[in-house]
């Protein structure tokens, strides 16, 4: 499903280049719920951005759902992403001038997957699924954080992508709400989607099939549901 081979990411900076990711090699099968953890600045967001095709690696190859992400140009990458990846952000990132339902319909519009009437039906079904169908016609600003994140998840599901990536989706929510949102993501994983999620909170990792721990841009450890450590350090 997702394969990373010797992936590095270097940020140019004012006092020399900074290597945010250093020779990462990873492989997740389809349907897994992957949690990426690590200290602040360890490179979690960088990694997930690379997987989502939001950013490009400085070195190495990334293959997602069989597509070598690095070979696509910006526009084709965008369409590919729209169809194959659902992205959930920490700050929800709903478009403020569109209603919740319209936000959910937008990816179907850009990727031309459904015509408006069908898109609306699908949006309502998705909102039903995440439990906020009654908020469909409100603007994002009038929803609570948890409700907004549910809407964002519904939007991520709009084009029925096989992969959901989420960067600290619960980071902005209280623990009670966070749990509900997390349960939603777990449910998706159970329903067959691959979910890759960055998180800070250790106790949330109990749901994960796999936990990847980053430290200074390298994989510090990797454990699967059976609690056995796959590797301590990254491959040379």
């Amino acid at each position: 499903m997702i394969e990373l081979e010797h992936v590095s990411k270097v940020y140019p900076g004012s006092n020399g280049n900074f290597k945010a990711l250093d020779g990462i090699t990873l492989r997740f099968p389809a349907g897994e719920f992957v949690a990426i953890v690590g200290k602040s600045g360890s490179g979690k967001s960088t990694l997930i951005n690379l997987i989502a095709g939001i950013d490009r690696p400085s070195d190495g190859v990334i293959r997602v759902v069989g597509t070598p992400v690095g070979t696509l140009d910006e526009s084709n990458l965008a369409t590919w992403r729209g169809r194959h990846i659902g992205v959930v952000f920490q700050f929800f990132q709903l478009l403020p001038t569109l209603t919740i339902a319209e936000n959910v319909m937008l990816p179907m519009d850009f990727c031309a997957t459904l015509e408006p009437r069908a898109a609306r039906l699908r949006a309502m079904a998705l909102l039903e699924k995440v439990g906020i169908a009654d908020q469909a016609n409100k603007l994002p600003s009038s929803l609570s954080g948890g409700q907004q994140q549910r809407a964002a998840i519904a939007r991520a599901l709009a084009n029925d992508p096989p992969l959901i990536v989420a960067d600290e989706p619960t980071g902005n929510l209280d623990s009670h709400t966070a749990e509900a949102v997390l349960a939603l993501l777990v449910g998706l994983s159970k329903a067959g989607k691959t979910v890759v999620m960055v998180t800070h909170e250790r106790d949330l990792t109990q749901y994960a099939d796999r936990i990847v721990t980053l430290a200074d841009g390298k994989i510090a450890s990797q454990t699967t549901a059976g609690q056995h450590t796959v590797s301590e350090v990254s491959h040379a």
Partner: protein, 802 residues
């Protein structure tokens, strides 16, 4: 998991676009207003140009104006007309005469141009149309031009007392009104226009002779030289048959007397309108770039969820296009309305009937192009930049960041530093304001220069009335006038219509048949005249010993551009040749071309003597009166005296009339300039308002941060206002500097047209300070309104606002 792939109408992103437009109402309104105003201006100017060019054809050319007029010594009888018609290059010929008479209006005498028509039923050249009353007029009656009713204070059925050079005053009945598009409106020329038959001319005490042979040439596209050569050729063949030709008058072909003024004014207005559009373009691009800054995060999100660059570009391009389309939809009818108002005003100026005020489609097409394409063109770059941004860049983007400038501006005061944080936008705003301000000031400066020039009419002339006689008078006339109560001083001058002579040829002048436009004369004032004092442009004024010298006014000098001080000039005074040496050129505002020689020299040329025998064709008289009514009273006394003495007066023109005539000629210009000033002010201040709105909104987050560290909203607003004032002041200084060459340019352009000389250069303090005040006001309003909103916003909301 089988989603149907369809390519139906996209909907949600257009919805988003519409909502964003609504959310940015204020800024959109600014852009819309700026574009709309400039397209209205462009439409009105182009529309007027199109309509008026067509109307000139329908009105002026419809009268079949004479290509040339040959002034004969004797009567133009049927035989001569027939001879002329037989000339191979002549299409039509007709006998006419124009007589300068006077009409009594109330207690005063006014000038009356009498057009003597050979046969009202068979006019072919310089025709006019009856609009009311009799046609043709019976003997003892006259028709008058429709615009002359106010000058004569009489209309159909009324009577006017008319006096010609040789006759006694006689009541003439006004039998009807005509419309003569070949003449400027009577009130502008301060004269009445009447049309009479030969027989009526006879009853007015003149010999029933018509001296003008008016012709049109065969070649409808003939140039002025072409017409001259046909006319000269005809004159030679007439001379060969013993018919003496005195003078040939060739006005600019196919051109209404006021056409050049008109075209220049429209051209100038067009230049201003196009500039306004360019400035609006800058404004749109600046505002849009600012709007896009706020949209960058959303662009990043849209790209994340699958939007392609092309889709994003399309969205924002459509946004701009829809603003343009709205502008066009508004501007087309309003531009049409502007055209109607402007053409009506100009038609009045030209004494035209608007036969067809329909605006041709190409004008609307130009407007649509200007509104539809120009904003897109200028917006393309910021839109392309924003939509091409990678997702990562877009998601990371924070409003204000370029730090490279900061260290260099560290020593500047805070508002300047804030303004400099976005150097491109600052440059655009300042450029927009400076250009707008410069044009605003220029419009008002030129208007002030024009007023100044008109004031010169009084400053350089120290007499109150000019009396011209039909025949030269001796000095006793002047003595008797001098003795009258209320008269301060009198000077007796020689005066004669004249031409620059070409040796061995019949004189050709460029005068219109109304005798006023583009005329040339020689005057002989006493060398030590105290009643005029024109600024000397080159050489010097006349001296008593100048028997051989001549001074030209600038309008005359312009007709012989290659001439230098010391050169010889060949003049012809009513057929009498005179060769003189140029000693000086003076600036004489508000006069047609004049050559000055001393009264002694003048007398020598025309073969009389100064003094008892008389060579004075005009008196210039200063009075003690200091009110208009007082002057009129003195003028009445003078007229009475001259009448009692049996002296035949050709014209008596109070100086105030000259000024009225000049002011009337250019109200349209002044209004056009003021309109343009308003357009520029609108676009310029909208630009400032838009920039300040953007600055405020962009710094919402920063306000919140400042508030959390204890800065009060008031302090923040004060800072913002200071920033707006800084931008305003900076642009004002640049505008002031730019206005100098621009004013000079327009002064030259407009002055050449109106006075044959550049207007005096004036930087109007009212314009400069007015613009400064306007900037200050707009700075305050456009900052305080959004800043208040921003400052009141809660810290939490402000922090997520961007």
């Amino acid at each position: 998991m089988s989603l149907h792939k369809t390519h139906s109408i996209p909907s949600i992103r257009w919805l988003k676009l519409a909502r964003d437009l609504m959310a940015e109402k204020g800024r959109i309104l600014l852009m819309l207003t700026a574009i709309t105003v400039s397209i209205i201006a462009i439409g009105a100017v182009l529309g007027s140009y199109a309509v008026l060019t067509r109307e000139i054809a329908a009105n002026y050319l419809g009268t079949n104006p004479a290509s040339a007029t040959l002034e004969l010594e004797g009567d133009v009888d049927a035989r001569i007309v027939k001879l002329a018609r037989q000339h191979p290059q002549v299409r039509e010929a007709e006998a006419r005469d124009v007589i300068l008479a006077r009409a009594k209006v109330g207690e005063d005498w006014r000038s009356l141009l009498l057009f003597v028509i050979d046969d009202f039923a068979a006019m072919r050249i310089s025709t006019f149309a009856p609009i009311q009353g009799a046609w043709p007029p019976a003997t003892g009656e006259m028709l008058i031009e429709r615009t002359a009713t106010s000058m004569l204070e009489a209309t159909v059925g009324g009577h006017v007392l008319v006096k010609t050079a040789h006759g006694t005053a006689r009541e003439v009945t006004i039998a009807g009104l005509v419309h003569d598009p070949g003449l400027a409106p009577a009130s502008q020329e301060r004269t009445g226009y009447g049309y009479i038959s030969r027989a009526t001319l006879s009853t007015l005490g003149e010999r029933p002779l018509l001296h003008e042979l008016r012709i049109t040439v065969r070649d409808p596209q003939a140039s002025i030289q072409g017409v001259e050569s046909v006319a000269s050729n005809l004159a030679r063949s007439l001379t060969d048959q013993g018919i003496a030709v005195h003078e040939i008058r060739v006005p600019p072909p196919r051109q209404h007397p006021h056409q050049r003024q008109l075209v220049t004014i429209l051209f100038m207005m067009l230049a201003f309108s196009v500039m306004a559009l360019v400035l609006s373009g800058i404004l749109v691009s600046g505002s849009l770039a600012a709007m896009l800054v706020r949209q960058v995060r959303e662009i990043g999100i849209m790209k994340t969820i699958g939007a392609r660059t092309r889709q994003i570009f399309g969205m924002y391009a459509l946004m701009v296009a829809s603003i343009g389309i709205m502008a066009v939809v508004l501007a087309i009818p309003l531009g049409w309305l502007g055209t109607q108002i402007l053409t009506k005003a100009i038609a009045g100026l030209l004494n035209f009937n608007l036969t067809d005020a329909a605006v041709p489609t190409w004008v609307f097409a130009v407007q649509a192009f200007a509104g539809g394409v120009v904003p897109l063109l200028v917006a393309a770059i910021p839109i392309a930049r924003a939509s091409r941004m990678s997702v990562r860049q877009a998601l990371d983007h924070y409003g204000v960041s370029p730090d490279s400038l900061r260290w260099r501006t560290a020593k500047l005061p805070r508002p300047a530093r804030n303004a400099l944080r976005r150097p491109t936008r600052l440059a655009l705003t300042v450029a927009l304001l400076a250009a707008g301000g410069a044009m605003f000031m220029t419009a008002l400066n030129v208007s002030a220069g024009w007023d100044r020039n008109i004031a010169k009419v009084y400053e350089t002339r120290h007499y109150d009335v000019e009396v011209r006689f039909h025949e030269a008078q001796g000095s006793p006339v002047a003595e008797r006038i001098r003795a009258l109560p209320g008269v301060k001083s009198v000077e007796a001058w020689g005066y004669s219509p004249a031409a620059f002579a070409k040796p061995g040829q019949i004189n050709v002048v460029r005068t219109y048949p109304d005798r006023g436009h583009a005329s040339f004369s020689v005057m002989g004032p006493p060398a030590d005249t105290r009643l005029i004092g024109f600024p000397v442009l080159a050489g010097r004024w006349l001296q008593p010993t100048d028997t051989e010298g001549v001074v030209l006014n600038h309008a005359a000098a312009a007709q012989v551009p290659q001439i230098r001080i010391g050169d010889r000039i060949d003049l012809s005074l009513d057929g009498k040749p005179a060769s003189r040496r140029l000693v000086g050129i003076v600036e004489e505002i508000g006069s047609s071309a004049v050559a000055y020689v001393t009264d002694q020299a003048f007398a020598r040329i025309v073969g009389t003597q100064v003094g008892a025998q008389g060579s004075a064709r005009l008196l210039r008289i200063a009075t003690h009166a200091n009110s208009p009514q007082g002057r009129i009273d003195v003028i009445r006394t003078i007229e009475q005296r001259l009448s009692d003495d049996g002296v035949s007066v050709e014209t008596a023109v109070p100086l105030a009339e000259l000024r009225t005539a000049m002011a009337d000629h250019i109200v349209i210009l002044t209004r056009a300039l003021l309109t343009m000033a308003v357009v520029m002010a609108t676009v310029g201040t909208l630009g400032l308002a838009s920039t300040m709105g953007v600055s405020v909104v962009e710094r919402t987050r920063e306000f919140a941060v400042m508030k959390t560290v204890g800065a009060t909203p008031r302090r923040i607003i004060v800072l913002l206002i200071a920033e707006a004032l800084f931008i305003g002041a900076l642009s004002w200084i640049i505008a002031l500097i730019l206005a100098v060459p621009l004013t000079g340019l327009v002064d030259t352009l407009v002055g050449r047209l109106g006075f044959v000389a550049p207007l005096p250069f004036i930087m109007s303090p009212v314009a400069a300070l007015g613009w400064l005040a306007l900037l200050g006001g707009v700075s305050l309003v456009s900052t305080i309104l959004p800043a208040n909103r921003a400052a009141r916003m809660s810290v939490a909301r402000a922090l997520v606002a961007l």
